[in-house]
Structure formats: C-alpha cells, structure tokens
C-alpha cells in the first residue's frame, strides 16, 4: 500500500483522467529541482519571502496528488516564511526532503 500519495483522491481531482494525472506528475518532477533549489537558497540566506513563496508552490503541487505529508510540511514552511521566523525551518526542510524522495518514487511509478 502506498501511503505517499492517495491515488484515488488524486484521480478524482482530475475526474479520472489518468493521462492528465501522469502529465501533472511529469511537470511536477521537472519543476521540483527548481523548487527545492529556491527553498535551500532561501533557508541559507534567511530569506523568509523566498521560503514562503517556494513552499507555497510546492504545497499546491502536493495538493494535486493528495500527497499529505509533503503538503503538511510545505504548509509549515510557508507559515514560517510568512511569520519571518525560520529558526525551525532547516529541520522541517530535512523532513520535507525525505518525504519528497518518497513522492518522487511514487510519481515516477505513476508516470
């Protein structure tokens, strides 16, 4: 059982269109390095706005796939960025990276 993404919910969101879901997965996989790059640079440079915006984009994509763990961690990072308090953000980012590895595998299987 794959707990990383909820395939049924993700499919329901695209009205059962498997090809569309696969396209979305492909686009996400292509854009992910840029998003993690932006997050890491934002964290290293203590740039709250950059963290907020990149986390927001990641949260949106994770929502498409009902990827709950990534969604929640990205949501936390977005809030930390919005509050301009990144003190806990590196630890949250580490957890996010581990979840992203799982999500990448799940989406690669999907695509």
């Amino acid at each position: 059982m794959n707990l990383t993404i909820d395939r049924d919910v993700a499919l329901a969101r695209v009205e059962g269109d498997v090809e569309l879901l696969q396209d979305l997965a492909q686009i996400f996989l292509e854009e992910l390095p840029q998003l993690t790059d932006r997050l890491r640079t934002g964290l290293a440079c203590d740039d709250s706005k950059a963290v907020q915006h990149a986390a927001h984009a990641l949260k949106g994509s994770a929502g498409n796939f009902a990827a709950t763990a990534v969604f929640e961690l990205a949501k936390q990072l977005e809030a930390m960025g919005r509050d301009s308090n990144l003190s806990q953000a590196p630890a949250t980012y580490e957890a996010l990276e581990a979840e992203l590895d799982r999500l990448k595998n799940a989406l690669t299987d999907l695509a």
Binding site: Q26, I27, E30, P33, Q34, D37, R40, T41, L43, A44, C45, D46, D47, P90, A91, Y93, E94, E97
Partner: protein, 127 residues
C-alpha cells in the same frame, strides 16, 4: 542528513555537454513552440554577458549585496532552460554572498562563469 548537508549544492563540472540543458523539459515548457524558444534563447544570450559583468564588478568591489542580487538574477535565468548545473552554481554563489563572507566568492564566481558560458554555447547550438 544534517542541515548543513541539506544546504550544499552539487556543481557538475564534469557533466557532459548534453546535460547542460534538459531538452525535453525545455520543449515541454514552451509547448513545442520553437519560435518562442528561440526568442527566450536570444533574450538570454543578449542579457547574460551584462549579468556576468555585474557579477564581476560586485566581486571587484567586494560588494556582497550586489553580488547576491547578480547571482540571484542569473539563477532565475537558468531556471527558464532547466539548466541545473548553471542554476546550482549561481545558487552556491548567492549563498556565499548572503553570508557576507566572500572568502570563497572568487572560486564560486569562476564556476558560475564556466557554467553560464557552457549554457550559452548549448543554447546557441539549439537556436
């Protein structure tokens, strides 16, 4: 992974030339519109020498905020072409600049110049 390790960037100096740009992703990005792609390439080739010049000026002046801005702007331009090595090199320099400790900035700038020249060559070959 430690938080420090999470903040490092691989710089692919030895990557083969066809790894400079992710071609398939690039064509997807413009929905196969080759004319649009050529415009994006022309825009990059016109503006990147000036961006690199700003980088060099900031290094010469030891002006960390200007260096951070110049590296940031270069990083954004690499994303348009899914040029991971160029973006990573610019990100590394941006992080050095925002730390305000420019001890390793010269070497990082040399890597940025190397990667962006390689990217420009690859884009010229595409256009």
């Amino acid at each position: 992974m430690t938080s420090n390790a999470a903040l490092t960037f691989p710089v692919a100096l030895d990557a083969p030339a066809d790894d400079v740009i992710a071609h398939d992703e690039l064509l997807n990005q413009v929905d196969g519109d080759v004319a649009l792609l050529r415009e994006l390439i022309a825009l990059f080739l016109t503006t990147y020498p000036d961006r690199l010049a700003r980088l060099k000026a900031a290094i010469a002046d030891r002006d960390a905020p200007a260096l951070e801005l110049a590296a940031h702007s270069l990083r954004g331009s690499a994303y348009n072409f899914f040029a991971a090595a160029a973006a990573a090199a610019a990100a590394r320099l941006e992080i050095i600049a925002c730390s305000r400790n420019l001890a390793r900035a010269d070497e990082a700038t040399a890597v940025v110049k190397y990667e962006y020249d390689r990217l420009a060559d690859a884009l010229r070959a595409l256009a």
